[in-house]
C-alpha cells in the first residue's frame, strides 16, 4: 500500500516535471520569422530556444519580484518545424508545482514588448495563443482635420461671394448715378435745343427774290 502511494507520488512528481500540450498551465507559442523578416530571417535552433526560455524567465522575474526564475524553470515541448511549441513554467518556491496560466499571462503582457524585441518580431508574428495582442489606439487629433479643410474652403467661398455681391451693388449704384446724370444732361440739352429751334434769321434768304423775278 505504502509502496503504491510512493510510486504514485513519484509518478505525479515526474508528470509534474514533464511539459504536456493542452495542459491547463501550458501555453502554445508560434513564431513567424520568415513573414516578419523576409530575407533577413534567422534560422530557429536550440540556441534561439534557449534565448526564449531566458526571456520568459526574465519576464517571470519581473512579474513575481523576489522569485529568481531560471532557464530550468521553463519547460518546453512539442517543437514543430512551423516553429511552434508549448511551454510551462515551474514554480521557484515549490519545484513540483506549476505557475497558473493567469500569472504567466500577466507576466507576458507586462514584458511583451521586450520579449518581441529580443526576437525582432511583433505581436502578430510572435503569437502566444490565448493572449490577445494589445490594440494600438488610433491617434485622434484635437480638432478633426476635416473641419480645418472645411474652414479653409468656406473661407475662400465666403470671400468670393462677398466680393461678387459688393461688386454687383457698386455697379448698380454706379449705373444709377450715370442714369441720373444722363437724365439731367438730357434735360438741359433739350432746353438748349429748344432755344435754338428758331435759329438765327438769315436775311439773305428773304422773300426779296420774288420781287426780282422777271
Amino acid at each position: 500500500m505504502l509502496e503504491k502511494l510512493l510510486i504514485l507520488l513519484f509518478a505525479s512528481n515526474v508528470l509534474a516535471q514533464v511539459c504536456m500540450p493542452d495542459a491547463p498551465e501550458a501555453y502554445k507559442v508560434r513564431l513567424s520569422i520568415k513573414t516578419a523578416l523576409g530575407d533577413q530571417a534567422y534560422t530557429w535552433n536550440d540556441n534561439e530556444l534557449y534565448l526564449f526560455r531566458a526571456t520568459l524567465a526574465f519576464a517571470m522575474r519581473n512579474y513575481l519580484s523576489g522569485q529568481l526564475f531560471d532557464v530550468s524553470n521553463i519547460l518546453v515541448c512539442n517543437e514543430t518545424e512551423r516553429v511552434s511549441f508549448w511551454f510551462m513554467v515551474k514554480s521557484v518556491t515549490n519545484p513540483t508545482t506549476l505557475i497558473e496560466k493567469q500569472h504567466v499571462e500577466n507576466a507576458i503582457k507586462e514584458s511583451r514588448h521586450r520579449i518581441n524585441s529580443a526576437f525582432l518580431l511583433t505581436d502578430q508574428t510572435l503569437e502566444f495563443l490565448g493572449i490577445l495582442p494589445t490594440l494600438a489606439s488610433p491617434f485622434v487629433p484635437a480638432t478633426p482635420p476635416w473641419l480645418i479643410a472645411f474652414g479653409v474652403v468656406m473661407g475662400v467661398v465666403g470671400a468670393g461671394i462677398v466680393y461678387f455681391l459688393v461688386a454687383a451693388v457698386v455697379q448698380r449704384k454706379r449705373k444709377k448715378t450715370l442714369d441720373e446724370e444722363e437724365e439731367a444732361k438730357g434735360a438741359t440739352e433739350n432746353e438748349i435745343a429748344g432755344e435754338n429751334l428758331d435759329g438765327i434769321y438769315n436775311t439773305s434768304f428773304s422773300d426779296d427774290e420774288k420781287v426780282t423775278e422777271m
Binding site: 467661398v157 461671394i161 461678387f164
Partner: protein
C-alpha cells in the same frame, strides 16, 4: 411624315431672320467658343460616366456592350443633342420661352424641364456634398476609412466595423449614420449639413453671375477630371493586377446582345448621360452667335462624351483589377496561414504559386484530409472578386476608397480622386442651375430688374433647405428614391414631347430652313430620318419598357441593418405605402404639368374670348 400641325401666330412669336442678323441686346454671350464647348462637355460628362457606365459595360458583356452603346449614341444621342442646340440657337431664349414661342400650349414642357432640373439638382448636389466630406477627410494619414475604431474600453474593434469592413463602416456609420429603414428618419447629421452648406455655397459662387462666372469656372472643372483620370491611369497600370481588371471589363460576351435589357440599358445610359431634356443645353446654346455651327458642336460633344465614358471605365477597372488582386492574394495568404498553423508546416513550404498543388497533395494524404475538411477554407477566385464591382455611390465611396488605402501615399490619391468627382459633379450642376434660374426669369414671377445674383441665391437657398432631407439619417434612402423616380420617367416624356414639338408643331420644313440659314447647309438625310422617326421611337420604346418594368416589379430598396441576419449583406425591404404617393409626385407631377398647363392655357383663352365677346356687345 411631312405633315405639321396647324400653328397660327408662330411667325409673331419667333425672331425673324432679319431680327437675328441685326440682333442687339443685353443677352449674355460666351466669351469664346472654348467656354461654350467646355460648359456643354462639363454638363454632359458627369458622375454617371465614371460610376454607371463601367458597371453597365462589365455586367452586359464587356466589350460587346460597346456595340449597342455606340449604335444608340449615333441614333439617339447625337440627333437629340443637335435638336436642342439648334432650337436654342434659333429662338435665342431659355427653354421655357422656346417652347412657349413654338406654341403657348407647350409652355408646360418648359415648366416640366424646370421642375425636373430643380429636383435632380437637389439630390445631385447632395452627392457632391458627400464627395466634399470625403475630400475634407482625405487630408490625414492614415486615412480614416482604413482602420476600424476601437470600442470604449479599447479592448476590441467596434463590432459593426469588425463584421463588415472599415470602408463600409466609415461610409454607412461615420458619414451617413444611416438608419435601418426609410421610415426611421433620425435627426439631422450636422457634419452632413455643413458639407451641404459648403456644396451649395461653392455652387452659388460659381453661378452667381450666370455664364459670366460659370464660363470661367469651367476652364478648371471641365479639364481637371481628364488630368486626374490620366494620372490614375498611369498609376493604375503600374499596380499589380490592373491589366486583369481591364481585360475583365472589355472581354466581349456577344450573347448579351440578344438580351433586350442590354439595349435598354444602353439607350437609357446614352439618354441620361447627355443631360437631355433638362433645358440647360437649350439655354447654353441660346447664348451663341446665330451662325455658330451647332451641327458640328453636337457631333464633337457626343464623341467626347462617348470617349470619356470608355476612358473612365478603363481607369476605374484598372484600379478595380488591382483591388481584386489584392483581395485574392489576401484570401490565399489567409488560407496558407491557416494551413501552416493548423498542420504545423514549415514557413514558406506553401506559397501563393504552389498553393493549389500543395493543397491537393495534403488532401490526398489520409492523415491531413479530415483536418483540412474541418478547416473549411474559403475558395479564392479572382473572377469572383472582379465581378463584385459595384456602381454608384458604392463604387466611389466603398470599392474605390478601399483600393486607395492599399496604394502607397494614399492621401494624395484620395484627394485627387475626390477633386475629380467634385469637378465632374459641379460642372453638371451648372447646367442644372441654368435650367432652373433662366425659366424662373422667363416666368416673370419676380420683377424684371430683379438682380440675377439674388435670384440664383434664392434658388440655391430653397434647394438647400429642401435638400436637408438628405442629411437626415435616412437621407441615402430618400436620395435613391429621388434618383430612381425624379430623374427617369419625366425626362423621357419631356424629350419625346420636345421632338414632337420641333418636328410636327414647329414644322420640320421650317426647322430645316432655319438650320440652313444658321450654318449654311440643310441637314442631310440622316438628321431627317432620326428626328422624324428613329429617335422618337427609341425614346418611346425606352419609356414603355421602363414603365412596364417599374410597374410590374415590387418596389424595394436596400438597407444597412447591423442587426439583420445576413449582415454585412444589405437587407432588402419593400417601401411603405406612403412612399408611393411621393413616387407619384416625383415622377407624375413633372409629366402631368405638360397636359395640365396646356389645359390651363386653353381655359384662359376661352375665358379671354368670352370676355372680348362680352365687350363687343
Amino acid at each position: 411624315m411631312k405633315f405639321a400641325l396647324p400653328n397660327p401666330g408662330l411667325e409673331d412669336r419667333i425672331p425673324s431672320y432679319e431680327n437675328l442678323e441685326t440682333e442687339v441686346g443685353d443677352r449674355p454671350k460666351w466669351d469664346n467658343k472654348a467656354q461654350y464647348l467646355l460648359t456643354c462637355v462639363g454638363f454632359c460628362v458627369g458622375l454617371g460616366n465614371v460610376w454607371r457606365f463601367p458597371y453597365l459595360c462589365q455586367s452586359h458583356g464587356g466589350g460587346a456592350f460597346m456595340i449597342p452603346f455606340l449604335i444608340l449614341l449615333v441614333l439617339e444621342g447625337i440627333p437629340l443633342l443637335h435638336l436642342e442646340f439648334a432650337i436654342g440657337q434659333r429662338l435665342r431664349k431659355g427653354s421655357l420661352s422656346v417652347w412657349g414661342s413654338i406654341n403657348p400650349y407647350l409652355t408646360g414642357v418648359g415648366i416640366a424641364s424646370m421642375v425636373v432640373s430643380f429636383l435632380v439638382g437637389m439630390y445631385y448636389n447632395t452627392i457632391i456634398a458627400w464627395v466634399l466630406w470625403y475630400f475634407f477627410n482625405s487630408f490625414q494619414s492614415p486615412l480614416p476609412w482604413s482602420q476600424c475604431p476601437l470600442t470604449e474600453n479599447k479592448t476590441d474593434l467596434v463590432s459593426e466595423c469588425a463584421r463588415s469592413s472599415s470602408v463600409d463602416y466609415f461610409w454607412y456609420r461615420q458619414t451617413l449614420n444611416i438608419s435601418t429603414s426609410i421610415e426611421e428618419s433620425g435627426g439631422l447629421q450636422w457634419s452632413m449639413v455643413l458639407c451641404l452648406v459648403a456644396a451649395w455655397s461653392v455652387l452659388y459662387v460659381c453661378c452667381i453671375r450666370g455664364i459670366e462666372t460659370t464660363g470661367k469656372a469651367v476652364y478648371v472643372t471641365s479639364t481637371l477630371p481628364y488630368a486626374v483620370l490620366t494620372i490614375f491611369l498611369i498609376r493604375g497600370l503600374t499596380l499589380e493586377g490592373s491589366l486583369e481588371g481591364i481585360k475583365f471589363l472589355f472581354t466581349p460576351d456577344l450573347n448579351e446582345l440578344i438580351n433586350p435589357s442590354t439595349w435598354l440599358d444602353a439607350g437609357a445610359q446614352v439618354f441620361y448621360s447627355f443631360s437631355l431634356a433638362f433645358g440647360g443645353l437649350i439655354s447654353f446654346s441660346s447664348y451663341n452667335s446665330v451662325h455658330n455651327n451647332c451641327e458640328q458642336d453636337a457631333v464633337i460633344i457626343s464623341i467626347i462624351n462617348g470617349c470619356t465614358s470608355v476612358y473612365a471605365a478603363t481607369v476605374i477597372y484598372s484600379i478595380i483589377g488591382f483591388r481584386a488582386t489584392e483581395q485574392f492574394n489576401a484570401c490565399l495568404d489567409g488560407n496558407i496561414q491557416t494551413l501552416m498553423n493548423t498542420l504545423d508546416l514549415a514557413e514558406g513550404s506553401i506559397t501563393r504559386n504552389n498553393y493549389t498543388e500543395s493543397l491537393q497533395r495534403l488532401n490526398s494524404s489520409d492523415v491531413y484530409h479530415p483536418i483540412i475538411q474541418e478547416l473549411s477554407l474559403s475558395s479564392c477566385d479572382l473572377q469572383t472578386f472582379l465581378s463584385e464591382a459595384m456602381e454608384g455611390t458604392g463604387l466611389a465611396f466603398i470599392v474605390f476608397t478601399e483600393a486607395i488605402t492599399k496604394m502607397p501615399v494614399s492621401p494624395l490619391w484620395a484627394v485627387l480622386f475626390f477633386v475629380m468627382l467634385f469637378c465632374l459633379g459641379l460642372s453638371t450642376m451648372f447646367g442644372s442651375i441654368e435650367g432652373v434660374v433662366v425659366p424662373l426669369q422667363d416666368l416673370r414671377i419676380f420683377p424684371k430688374n430683379f438682380p440675377k445674383e439674388a435670384l440664383t441665391g434664392i434658388v440655391c437657398a430653397v434647394s438647400f433647405l429642401i435638400a436637408l432631407i438628405f442629411s437626415m439619417r435616412s437621407g441615402d434612402y430618400w436620395l435613391a428614391l429621388f434618383d430612381s423616380f425624379a430623374g427617369s420617367v419625366p425626362l423621357l416624356i419631356i424629350a419625346f414631347c420636345e421632338m414632337v414639338a420641333v418636328v410636327y408643331i414647329y414644322g420640320i420644313d421650317r426647322f430645316n430652313k432655319d438650320i440652313e440659314f444658321m450654318i449654311g447647309h440643310k441637314p442631310n438625310l440622316f438628321w431627317q430620318a432620326t428626328w422624324r422617326v428613329v429617335s422618337p421611337l427609341i425614346v418611346l420604346f425606352i419609356f414603355v419598357f421602363y414603365l412596364v418594368s417599374k410597374i410590374s416589379s415590387k418596389l424595394t430598396y436596400i438597407t444597412w441593418n447591423p442587426a439583420s441576419e445576413n449582415f454585412p449583406k444589405l437587407e432588402e425591404l419593400s417601401y411603405p405605402d406612403w412612399v408611393y404617393v411621393i413616387i407619384f409626385i416625383l415622377s407624375g407631377a413633372p409629366s402631368l404639368i405638360i397636359p395640365v398647363f396646356a389645359l390651363y392655357k386653353w381655359l384662359q383663352k376661352c375665358i379671354c374670348n368670352k370676355n372680348t365677346h362680352k365687350i363687343h356687345f
